[in-house]
Amino acid sequence: MSDIIRRDPRAEWIMRNRLHPLHDQYVSQEEGGEVRGPSGLIRKFPHKVGFIGPNGIKRIDRLKGNSSAPQGRRSSAAQEVQLPLHTVANPDYYIMVAADMVGGRLTSHDKDILGLAHKLIAEEGGNGAVVAVCFGEVKEEHFDTAGADRVLHIEGEEFEGYAPEARMQALAQVESQYTVKHWLFPDSIHGGCDLASRLAARLGERPATQAWQVNAEQAVSRGASASLDITRKTPKILMLLEECADAIDETRHEATPLTLETFSVAAPTITDQGLMDVDPNAIPLGEAEFILSAGNGIHNWDQFHEAAKVLGATEGASRVAVDDGFMPRFRQVGATGTWVTARVYVAVGISGAIQHMQGIGQVDKVVAINTDAGCDMVKRAALSVIGDSEEILAELMKLVAEHKQTSLSDQAEENSNAA
């Protein structure tokens, strides 16, 4: 066929005339195909643009179907995109990231450091792999998207709990078994800094502490209580501040397990006697790990205080509870109160006003107890329980008391068995 564009004046005329009886037929024929004018230019037919929305109003989609939620197909669930897999076969060297793994999961600090490790490999070139080294119980499921090419999980009773000496010896063993280019540690109070210092002293390396700007050649670190920037050649052991690099978010990694040869651990000189009981209300609200927070939905305040005591939670409050005089001002959570960092936050009778939500932005798990299933706190919460706060707190206290009884009797049994 020739590519001469032939016009059909009659068809054009019918298409222009919306009142023509054959109009709909011609328009639907044209559907999808583009219309060429006499000179070959694409013609847009303004009456055909858009579609009729669900309530009969004409809608024009100027994003041409690129918008995240296409209007035509409503409620199509957001699709999980499969990120490209980054593979490293037979690496020449490793960059070890000794993650804090607070609560068995990678912290955002750990993830930033994994990101930095990949940046270092990209700059240094060569076939390097990033290893996430972790101890103790591991609950993390997303090592792959966090950027770990390999995972070295060092298990064993001697590394559980507080065992910095044994852990340091394990890392020294890793050093002798693998070609390690860099050791990266979070410079954190969760043990990363302690472990790194021990390893550095053992290996006789001079580490860069509080490093925050690192590339393959140079590391900038803070000194003199963060008033100096020290620039030096990038050392082997680095302790990194938070937000030292961006976490991995565009690739997936293999996260294949590595193994460590067994070795003998010297008897520890520090023995762990376990955590001490501290008065939860003596912990500053901003630091507390577990907060039971009261709002306008609490009517039995004696019971609330009792519940906080039984659960071992630090008490918090919404502004209304404070303004009404039921709680002291320093217990207020939110924009004009304290910004909390708790891992678990139980909001009892709090509606979830934005000023309150700002204060709990960093909280991991929110539990809502509320009579109103539609309130904002329920939308934010990982677990919401709809019901009267008084009944639920009473039941919860009963459960916790039972739990404590059984664990106490278990302990007593163990002791009597041991004796």
Binding site: S197, A201, S227, Q273, L275
Partner: protein
């Protein structure tokens, strides 16, 4: 038998004015040392005898301060190590991080490694020293405490959670004796090659939205954060609801 306790002190830096002062953690180490050993406490500084801030430490009730005289550029670890080796020391207390110099916090670790002693970091209190062992309280994040037992002799770095230092008295501080000894002379060569400039403010991390279309960016900028809407329990019995909360609390290990 009283134990020989040594507190290591350094020159601090006031966070706002930048003037030298007694360092926060080192003075807590002196305070803890005074609690353990009274005025038998040996307080050691490696550096200059003329340093005026040493008088501020001395003003906490110390009859004398031992100074291992050395140059500013010299490494303190070497002098301290030979001093600790020559004395019969049971407990060495330091700060976690110095407020001047490199502030790497490596000093206690290097000393512990070279002396072969245990090192406990971030100590909040030393509860008891008995039978060649000490009961030590460690400061953990979120205000938690852990108790550990450690054999003497050992080195401990003192956290800010330890008891705050007492007021320093000016007169007794002036009258205290400065006992000078010869320190090491080896210069910290590695550090000479470093470039040190006043700290730049660190850039704040911005929330970067990697969205393909304007509508997505608009949504990211305006939408309320939705926590992926968790589990909602409406019609279950009160027992079931409480049990669900209880299970979550146990799983998160906030109830022990």
């Amino acid at each position: 038998m009283p134990h020989k306790v040594v507190s290591l002190i350094s020159v601090g830096r006031h966070p706002q004015s930048g003037r030298s002062r007694r360092a926060e953690q080192d003075s807590r180490a002196v305070e803890l040392g005074l609690k353990l050993a009274g005025t038998d406490l040996d307080v050691v500084h490696a550096g200059n005898t003329e340093e005026p801030t040493l008088r501020q430490y001395a003003g906490m009730g110390l009859p004398s301060v031992t100074v291992l005289e050395q140059d500013e550029k010299a490494d303190a670890v070497e002098s301290l190590q030979s001093y600790l080796q020559s004395e019969k020391v049971d407990i060495v207390l330091t700060g976690v991080r110095a407020e001047s110099g490199e502030s790497s916090g490596m000093t206690p670790y290097l000393l512990a490694e070279s002396l072969g002693w245990p090192m406990v970091s971030r100590v909040a209190d030393i509860v008891e020293v008995k039978d060649g062992e000490a009961q030590v309280l460690l400061a953990l994040p979120r205000g938690q405490r852990r108790q550990v037992t450690v054999k003497l002799p050992f080195i401990a770095s003192i956290d800010n959670a330890a008891q705050a230092a007492r007021q320093s008295a000016f007169g007794p501080g002036l009258r205290a004796k400065m006992e000078a000894q010869q320190g090491s002379e080896s210069v910290d060569e590695i550090r000479l090659n470093w470039e040190e400039v006043p700290a730049k403010a660190r850039p704040k991390r911005l929330k970067v939205v990697k969205a393909k279309t304007a509508a997505d960016r608009f949504k990211a900028a305006t939408a309320k954060p939705q926590g992926g809407s968790g589990k909602v329990m409406k019609n279950e019995s009160v027992e079931e609801k409480a049990k669900a909360i209880f299970d979550l609390l146990v799983e998160e290990k906030v109830i022990r």
